[in-house]
Amino acid sequence: MTQALVAIEGLKVAFSTDHGPVTAVEDVSFSIAPGETVCVVGESGSGKSVTSLSLMRLVEFGGGRIVDGRLRFRRGDGSAIDVTTADAATMRSLRGNEIGMIFQEPMTSLNPVFTIERQLTDGLRVHRGLRGAPARARALELLREVRIPEPERRLKQYPHELSGGMRQRVVIAMAMACAPRLLIADEPTTALDVTIQAEILGLIDRLKRDNGMAVLFITHDMAVVAQMADRVVVMYRGRVVEEGPVAEIFERPREDYTKALLAAVPRLGAMRGKPAPEPMPLLGAEAEAAPPRMTERGRRLLEVSHLVTRFPVKSGPLRLTRAHVHAVEDVSFGLDVGETLALVGESGCGKSTTGRSILRLVEPQSGTIGLDGWDIRSLGPVDLRRARRDMQMVFQDPFASLNPYRRLRDQVAEPLVNFGLARGSALDDRVAELFRRVELPADFGSRYPHELSGGQRQRVAIARALATDPKLIIADEAVSALDVSVRAQILNLMMRLQAEFGLSFLFISHDMAVVERVSHRIGVMYLGRIVEIGTRAQIFEDPRHPYTRALLAAVPIADPRQRRLHDDTVFRPLPSPVHPVGHVPAPSTYDEVEPGHLVLALD
C-alpha cells in the first residue's frame, strides 16, 4: 500500500456540542490508489461526509476536530505528507489544487454575485498565478472539457442564468481547474434529476479516465455505487463495516448491514413479469407475502379530466400578469379503488402540482375532478372541507410536515377533532389505534416531532392522513427524503395499509425503481402533460414515448455488471413551461397503442 495516493489510518473525528464531544467517525481506515474510484456509501449519519471533509481538514470549519489517526496524502512531487499535522499554508496549497471537491447542491455551491469566469479563474490565480488572457483561455478549455455548450457566452453569465445540470458542470470544472490528483465528490448528483444525474456521472467517469485522477465518491445510492465504483467502503454509524472491490460487495457481501442495504434497494427491472406490487424484502424479517388483491378493484374512485393549473407570472410596477407557468396542462387519468397510480417525472414536470390541484390546495384553472361522486372543483368551502375527509396527503419532508410545537398525539387527532369524528376517550382510543396501524408505540403520542427519526415521523404523517379513513392518499415524494432501509419499511407499510383498507394511492415520485415496485399503473409526466400512461408492465416493458425511454435509460442500475455510463455529450435544454398570456396550448391527444396504454400524440 505504499503506492496509495491517500491512506487513511484510524481516523477519529469528534464534534463538540452542548452535551459534550460527540464522536462522528471512529477507527476509519482505507486507502485510495491513483486513478481509482472509491465509493463511500452509507445512510445519513454514517459519517461518510465527515470522512471526506476530514481529508481536506474542512471539518474544522464545522466545529469538528480530528482527534486521532493519520491521513497520508502523496503529493504531486512524490513526497508524502500527513494532512492531520500539516500547517495552514500547506493545507491551502492542497485544497482546490491537488484535491478538488464537488458538493451536493449546485444551487448554493456557486457564489451568485460572481460570473462563471471569475469563479473558474479564482483557483487558477491562487494556485497557478494565472491572470488575464491565459486564465481566461484555461477557463474556456475547462468549460469545453465538461461539455458546456457555448462556453464563450457562459463565461460572462451568472450562476442563476444556468440550469441545475449546467451549474453542476461548472462546479466540476472549478474542481478540475488545477488538475487535482484526487477529486472528492460529496453526493454530487443527489439534488439532480435522473437524466442529468446520468450525464454528470458519465462526465465524472470520463474526466477520471482522461486525467488519471482518483475519485472519492460519497453517496447513499447503491445504484450509483454500482455504476461508478472500483472499490466500495460501506460505513455505518461512524465506522467502516465492509470494504472491497465493487463486484465482491454486490455479489458476495459478508456483513449483515451490507446485505440489508442491498436488499432494501429497489432494482429497476426486478418486477418484470409480476402482476401486482410486491413488498420489498427486508433482511431479518420474514419475507412478506404479496398483499391480497382488493375485491373491490375495478370501481373508479378518482376521475381527473382535462385538468389545467397555471400560475401567474407578474411583473412591472403594476404587478400585471404578463405570462403563465403552465404547470399542469390538460391532464386526464383515472384511479380505481385499491389501486396505486404513480405519477413520475423530473422536477418541474407538474406532478406535485397535479396532486395538490386534486386536493385544491392550489386552484386549478379548468378541468373536472371527480372523487367518488363529488365534483371537487364545484364545491364551496364547506363541502370542500367535507370532501377532503376522503382524500389526504403525505408530504415529502417529514421534518417540515409536522408542527414542531405540537405533541404528536394532538397532530394525529387534529383531523378527527376538525371533523367532529371523535371526542373524549373515543378520540384517545382512535389515536392509539392509528399509532398501532403505522406500527408505532402508542406512548409516542406524548412526544414532539424532533424526538423521532425521519422514518418514524413519516409514519406519524401517514397516521394523520389515515385518521379520517380516507379513500385516497396522495403521497407526494413521501419516501424520497428517507434512507433506503427506512424507505423500504415505509413502502411496505403503505402496501399493507392498501391491502387492509382498500386505499387508493396517487404516488408522486421521481424514482423509477420505487415506482416500479409499488404501482399498478403509471403516468409519466413531462412539461405539465402526461406523455404516457399505462400499466406497470406496459410502461416498463414496452415504453413507447421517447421521454419515457430516456427516463428509463437514465436510471442507474444497482448492478456493477450492468454499467451503462452514458456519453455525456447529449445535451437537451428543457423547454420553458412559461407562456405569455393568451397562449393557447394544443390539447393533449393520445394514441391507444394497447388497451389502457396511452401515448401522447403531439411532440
Binding site: H19, M393, F395, A400, N403, P404, Y405, R406, E414, T468
Partner: protein
Amino acid sequence: MRRFLSAKGLVGLTLVVLIVAIALVAPLFIPETAGTRMDMRARLAGPSLVHPFGTDQLGRDLLVRVVLGAHTSLTIAGLAVLLSIVVGLPLGVVSGYYRGHLDNLLMRLVDTLLAFPALLLALTISAMLGPSLQNTVIAIGVAFTPYLARIVRGEALRVVQMPYVEAARAAGTSDPMMIVRHILPNIMPQVIVQATISLAFAILAEAGLSFLGLGTQPPASSWGLMIQASRDYLDRAPWTALVPGAAVAMTVLGLNMFGDVLRDVLDPRARA
C-alpha cells in the same frame, strides 16, 4: 423547567424578578417626598455613606430616585410594548396569513407609519394627546406597532408555506384554528425576542419624550428623565448618568437573558 436553572436563566430570572419587585414594592415603602428631598449642601455629591449613589444637581439622592423611577419607567415601557403586541400581532398575522388585498392595505398603512422615525411618531402623538402617563404609553405603543407587525407578518408568511400548514389545511383545519394552533406557536419565538428588544427601546423612548417635556413630568422620577437631566454635568458628576444608565442596562440585560431562556423553554426542540 430545567432550562430556567441554567446559569443564563438564573441570572436573567433573578434580574427581572428583582427589578420588577423593586418597581412594585418601592413606592409602598419610600414616601414620595423622599425622591424630591433636596440637600442643597450636597449638590452633585459623589457616592458617600449618606448618598450611596451620589446626588443630582438639586442634591436629591440618586439611589432613592432610581428606585422610585423604576416604577414609572417599567410601567410605561411594559404597557407600551404590551399595546404594540396587542395591536401589531393580530395585524401581522392576519396580513401574512390571508395575504392579498387585505395584506396590501394593512402593509401600506404600516409602511406609512414606518416612514416616520419611531421617536418622532411618538413625539407627535404625545404632543397631540398631551402629557400624561396614559398618553405616553399610547404614543410609544403606537410608534412601536408597525415594527412588530412587520416582523410578525414576515414570520407568518414563512410559516404559512410550511408543509404542516398545508397538511392541516388538507385535514380540514379552519382558519382560526390554523392561526391558533399552527401559526402563533411557530412565530412566538420571534415575537418574544422582538418584545424584549422593544422593552429596552421603550425605556429610552420614554426618556426622550420626558426630555422634551412630553413624558414623565418633574418632579416625578423616571430613568429617562434622570439620564436627560445629567447631560450638563457629565464632566463634573458622571455618576448622575451612570446610575440610571446602569439601571436601564441591567434591566435590558436581564430581559434579554430572560427572553432567550423563555424562548428556549417554549421550544420543545430545545428541551433535553
